[in-house]
Symmetry: C2
Subunit: 210 residues, 2 copies
Amino acid sequence: MDLSKRQQQIIAIVKEAGPITGEQIAERLNLTRATLRPDLAILTMVGFLDARPRVGYFYTGKTGSEIITEKLMKYKVDTFQSMPIVVKEDDSAYDAISAMFLSDVGTLFAVDQDSNLVGVVSRKDLLRASIGNQVLQEIPVHIIMTRMPNVAVCYPDELLVEAANRLIEKQIDSLPVIERSSEAGAKVVGRITKTTITKAFVELARNELM
Amino acid sequence: MDLSKRQQQIIAIVKEAGPITGEQIAERLNLTRATLRPDLAILTMVGFLDARPRVGYFYTGKTGSEIITEKLMKYKVDTFQSMPIVVKEDDSAYDAISAMFLSDVGTLFAVDQDSNLVGVVSRKDLLRASIGNQVLQEIPVHIIMTRMPNVAVCYPDELLVEAANRLIEKQIDSLPVIERSSEAGAKVVGRITKTTITKAFVELARNELM
């Protein structure tokens, strides 16, 4: 968003002297209040300034692009998550590879007898196992998986952006979405992957999200 | 962005009757031109309306979120691409897996003697090969790779959003970035992956991109 020179002057004045009334801003610029009205209206509407009755205008500290940030801050994990694909921790690496191809996912969530999350197994883990000397049919998933509590997870009510950030920081492709209320163990209710984020990015550009 | 009732009325009038002058809009709303000025200024600045001298206001068809789209339309592939990781097409699947672990990438670009792109090999291709009955050291990459021209690629001057969309549509994790000027063969100059897009998404939210 391109601001006019006058709008930039107004922001500078409010930044320095706010809270300040419209009259006072006009005075400083040698203009009438009426002349300034459209500029003040724009700056307030877009969010650079805020106005309080009987106090005046003050600077919000927001930049134009923070409007975008504010939109992104409304997206929660649960509106974007996909179905989780699980394997039992005692299944073999070979079974895990088959499950991966069948569901066309890059990461499987390993669960115990009670369907609680115990670990995560990725294509990378399986590829590492496959170049070892053991027979894939004889290696159980729990031997090669990343085990709880070392598994990065996310929650349904978290921001999508937080989940995206975790994927980058932990250098992983997928996060299990875990019920917050799980008392006995972690119940997996979904998955957030780099595919989820890439889709959200495309939809954002296409205006499908707002 | 929340529009006031009056601003919505103005948009409706311009949509129906544009191009239309400010005077005419004011007349229809039983208001003075001066009263309308701030609203018209806002609607024009944010991009809902456009104005041409001696013609009047007309409706651009843009929505508030199209401002975001416009920002995203400035991001080009070459500002976001990472280094490409390549293997020779005659290397073994075992070598490819080693290269993948060494560089920590999910996709390798296969090149011929002249360093031209001939194919792409993914973790999935290698995993599939590893559960076959052959010895990984004896399978050359060109047997298991996706071969040109079936490889989805992108170009440095394309929009990041187009590349993101291609990743989703083709259901792949990575795109080689190809020089447009390559006459003899395709020269790989970078890679765009779902990680690239996820990083861009996070930076977008953090205001680091604009």
